[in-house]
């Protein structure tokens, strides 16, 4: 029997519920999309794979080129890395093919933000941009372990590296401009805007030409929702996007943490119990010696 991840996680939740029902009484709610959340809509059917978005991203973020040819002539990143925050990949299968864009998805309920021990990763409450602050980061790389899309990348080549990922060009947003990738896209495959509007737009496209699309807006629900959403003609799993449950893994992780440590009740109880027993048993010792 082959289980997909969603079945597995559902079983996990059911199993967990049965095995520790009381601890799920305080289950943390999934976070909701902010009404002013900003994001991107990537429509793979419109993308021609020109990589103009990659060039623009590097330009506005002052990122170094990344060579994959032996002569080091072309900036041709093969995937996301510490030098590349945004990349277009090609998926080919028989006669069909599709481009797909990889970058930070700016999750509604980001696992990286939940994982970071020192608040180096934060979610801007209004725009929902997931920001990284190198001045705060300790470089533990737990965000890389936590991210379901493997987006945060580390500067391995540096002696004192930092994490690199898309910040939705928040330095340009502050100036009232739009991100480098969407402004450079010649075909309108990358569209910047409010996430609510982008979702409406995506559904409108699905409705208008159902035959042209795989009938799903990726990111509407995946992992608790993302602010970068995708449309494609091919199933998203084929394009390398994980089939995630509708809740963020942060929900389960935080539920377990906060039920165990709620009000510090359990640790205080255990401490009191151990202290009482240790004291009693140490006193016994004294009695014997004297």
């Amino acid at each position: 029997m082959r289980m997909n991840r969603r079945d597995f996680l559902q079983n996990l939740a059911i199993g967990g519920g049965a095995l520790s029902a009381p601890s799920f009484a305080n289950a943390r709610q999934d976070k909701a999309l902010s009404s002013e959340a900003l994001g991107l809509l990537y429509d793979a059917t419109k993308c021609v794979g020109c990589q103009a978005c990659v060039v623009a991203c590097k330009e506005v973020n002052a990122m170094p080129p990344e060579f994959s040819d032996p002569d080091h002539l072309w900036d041709a990143p093969l995937g996301l890395s510490a030098s590349t925050r945004n990349v277009i990949a090609l998926y080919k299968e028989g006669g069909r093919q599709s481009f797909v864009r990889q970058s930070c998805m700016h999750c509604v309920d980001p696992a990286c933000v939940s994982a970071c021990p020192v608040k180096a990763l934060t979610k801007e409450p209004k725009t929902g941009v997931v920001r990284y602050d190198a001045e705060t980061c300790i470089g533990c790389r737990y965000c890389m372990v936590a991210c379901p899309f493997n987006v945060p990348k580390f500067e391995w080549g540096s002696a004192y590296g930092k994490i690199v990922k898309c910040q939705l060009c928040d330095h340009l947003l502050a100036k009232g401009e739009q991100p480098g990738c969407s402004s450079a896209c010649p075909t309108g495959a990358i569209q910047f805007g409010g996430v609510q509007k982008l979702l409406q737009e995506a559904h409108a496209r699905l409705k208008a030409s159902p035959d042209a699309y795989y009938s799903k807006v990726y990111g509407e629900k995946e992992g608790g929702g993302t602010q970068v959403i995708l449309l494609s003609a091919l199933p998203f799993e084929k394009l390398g996007l994980p089939d995630l449950p509708d809740v963020s893994s942060a929900t389960l992780s935080e539920t377990i943490m906060h039920t165990t440590y709620k009000g510090f009740g359990m640790p205080i109880f255990l401490f009191a119990l151990f202290a009482f027993m240790a004291r009693r048993n140490l006193h016994k010792d004294k009695g014997k010696e004297e």
């Binding site: 029997m1 289980m3 597995f8 996680l9 079983n11 996990l12 199993g15 967990g16 095995l19 996301l80 696992a111 939940s114 994982a115 970071c116 021990p117 020192v118 608040k119 190198a134 705060t136 980061c137 300790i138 470089g139 533990c140 790389r141 737990y142 890389m144 372990v145 936590a146 379901p148 493997n150 580390f154 500067e155 391995w156 080549g157 540096s158 002696a159 004192y160 590296g161 930092k162 994490i163 390398g240 994980p242 995630l244 893994s249 942060a250 389960l252 992780s253 935080e254 377990i256 943490m257 165990t260 640790p267 255990l270 401490f271 119990l273 151990f274 027993m277 240790a278 140490l282 016994k284």
Partner: protein, 395 residues
């Protein structure tokens, strides 16, 4: 014989400078050079860590296995101070020393692993505290427990009245330490329960990247039990060391009982682990492919020591006890390696195998621990010594 023995702790006999010490020192200095290379040239230069495997050997070995082996003191404290099983108390000191060294070096290794170690002080600044982060809890809790372990060693150090020529007199601080020892001991039992279980919870957020055979909401329980088992295993092996260094008999009966307790814990672990799989309907998955094989080997390693200990003759035989101890450690270590490394797959074209320098650092850190351990047991009364009391002098 059990009742007719007197236990004491004595510094190890013989000179500190011998072949073993020299070898450990040599290994330690090689490791120190490797560490310098990491500091000056960075993680990419010295490790094979990559964007698909951000955590590698230093985390799995130094932190997960290192602190697990250091949990002997914690496991024994539960028996001695919570359950009042006095017979095990003479094993405490070496276990606490192993714990203090294991935990301290785990912390040191984490600092080497941190990409931006200069910011590590943020963990102590309330403005940066992130209470949703499992890693935050683990980090603070491990640091607190390391401190507790060193405090628990103070009584042993004070027994030696002269340290480096200075006379140690029990002053007011020491009197207070003895008065508040129960608080220290209680923290010494509470903190490992918290962070050893949380070392498991750390992986829950990784979701689908950890293979379904390992990814479980019961991670905390498995990690807690595996820590205690590794701790008990380390205690048995240290007892071997103590009796061979002092030329005293091996405490087979007490260690037999400890092995028995470990076997029961293993059974509990196996029951929950297999029940968990049945509940999630993962049995078909369990026997499939490379992860399936790892799963079978891992659990066979838990079953084997239970089989050894189940028989009374084997249980009270020093050789079998030693083998069982090694198996308890191997099973738990493999479980932790599997969860964090072998069964971790980010579904990206990156594979990971540690680099030469990574391995060199790990071996170097072991060398440093051995140097400090040998020095500690040489200068302080740590290792237990049992002197059988003759039947005539009993009474």
């Amino acid at each position: 014989m059990q009742k007719g023995a007197i236990y004491s702790h004595e510094p190890s006999p013989g000179p500190l400078w011998n072949k073993a010490f020299a070898a450990a020192l040599l290994v330690a200095s090689t490791g120190a050079l490797a560490i310098l290379l990491r500091v000056f040239f960075g993680l990419g230069f010295s490790t094979n860590l990559n964007d698909g495997h951000p955590w590698g050997l230093w985390i799995t070995w130094d932190v997960l296995v290192g602190t697990g082996l250091g949990c002997g003191g914690f496991g024994l404290a539960l028996l001695v101070y919570a359950l009042d099983k006095r017979e095990f108390s003479f094993l405490m000191r070496p276990a606490i020393l192993t714990g203090a060294l294991g935990y301290s070096f785990a912390g040191f290794s984490v600092i080497l692993d941190l990409g931006r170690y200069g910011n590590v002080y943020h963990l102590f600044m309330p403005s940066h505290w992130q209470f949703n982060s499992v890693l935050f809890e683990v980090a603070l809790c491990i640091m607190a427990y390391t401190l507790i372990l060193w405090i628990e060693l103070v009584p042993a150090m004070l027994e030696r009245r002269l340290i480096l020529g200075y006379r140690i007199r029990p002053n007011i601080l020491v009197r207070w330490l003895y008065r508040l020892l129960f608080v220290v001991l209680a923290l010494g039992m509470l903190l490992p329960i918290m962070h050893q279980s949380s070392l498991g919870s750390l992986l829950i957020i990784a979701g689908h990247k950890v293979h379904p055979l390992w990814q479980s909401i019961l991670f905390p329980a498995y990690f807690l039990i595996s820590a205690i088992l590794m701790g008990y295993g380390a205690v048995v092996i240290e007892c071997y060391l103590a009796s061979s260094l002092h030329g005293t008999p091996f405490e087979v009966r007490t260690l037999g009982r400890l092995s028995g307790i470990a076997a029961w814990l293993s059974l509990l672990y196996l029951f929950v682990r297999l029940e968990d799989l049945t509940f999630r309907g993962l049995w078909a998955e369990a026997l499939k492919g490379w992860p399936g094989m790892l799963f079978v080997v891992e659990n066979a390693l838990y079953v084997a020591p239970v089989w050894i200990v189940a028989n009374k003759e084997r249980r009270n035989n020093a050789g079998w006890q030693f083998v069982a101890a090694i198996l308890f450690i191997a099973a738990s270590a493999l479980y932790r390696f599997n969860a964090y490394w072998f069964a971790y797959n980010a579904h990206v074209p990156w594979r990971y195998f540690p680099s030469f320098l990574e391995i060199l650092v790990v071996i170097g850190l072991i060398g440093m621990e051995v140097v400090l351990y040998l020095a500690a047991i040489h200068f302080f009364p740590i290792l237990p010594v049992s002197r059988p009391v003759l039947a005539s002098s009993e009474k």
